[in-house]
Amino acid sequence: MEPASAKLIGAGLAAIGAGMAAIGVGNVFGSFLESALRNPGAADGQQGRLFIGFAAAELLGLLSFVVAMILIFVA
């Protein structure tokens, strides 16, 4: 296989990571909403933790984007 095409295929495969992060972020907000609707009084106090979870899940997806960008533009 040509190195150039292998790079592009690798970058495309890295997009799987972005999709996985989408599942993760959806899970974070979904679980938050599910429990926030059960106990709306406690929901506001947990917003900090919500965004910590969001940040952690999102970072891993962004890393896959970095991998794709490195494959296309740097490597």
Binding site: G45, G48, F51, I52, F54, A55, E58, L59, L62, L63, F65, V66, M69, F73
Partner: protein, 261 residues
Amino acid sequence: MAEAAKVDPMHQFTIEPMFGTDHWQIAGYNIAFTNSSLWMGIAAVALLIFVAGGMKRELVPGRWQMAVEGFTGFIDNLLAANIGPAGKKYVPYIFSLFMFILFANVLGLMPLGLVGVHPFTFTSHFTATGVLAVMSFAIVLIVGFWKHKLHFFSLFVPHGTPLVMIPLIFAIELVSFLVRPFSLGLRLFVAMMAGHVLLEVLSGFVINGVNAGLGIGPVVSVLSFALMIAICALEILVAGIQAYVFALLTSLYLNDAENLH
């Protein structure tokens, strides 16, 4: 059929000197005034005007003062919730950090291209976000070692760790601590860059669709354009969330430095 127009999604991130040349160097580093520095200056000036407008200290606050006080109150609550009473002294730093990043992100999304100005999002460069992250990390280190001296290292050994596990846990916690400035800077820079690349790629679809003529062209263009509008709304949300996450994580790290575990 004509050759499809090339829209280079990475061109928007080019840093070029506004005036001066690449030869303005000190010790091998270029010090020319670039578009990145220009937009940093614009963000700082806009922030100064915004805050100065709310400093009239009226007993019955007007709209502008309410807006500024809303932001300061928001940061105040954030620090009170995450650090406690000791967090009060970090309000100026976290407020400046949050507002500077927020203004930078939002200014970069402004549709100024319509009047011929090319907005530049300097938070889409790791050099800018990395320095902000290193600043936060340095404050954590300084406060931690100042306040707890060498006890600060107990941050890396959670309470109740079995003796056998201490070396392993220490190594893991140390690595996760040292990775913090990278993850902090990387998150902001990649999130901003990804959004701008996405918008540029979609605008490339619109342009190529229009050029393709009747048939499939208009369908692609209209759909891409509708998607672009939706993504723009999402980007405004991301601009706010990323600024908030940066401030939130900085305050969490400061909490580690202030209160250990």
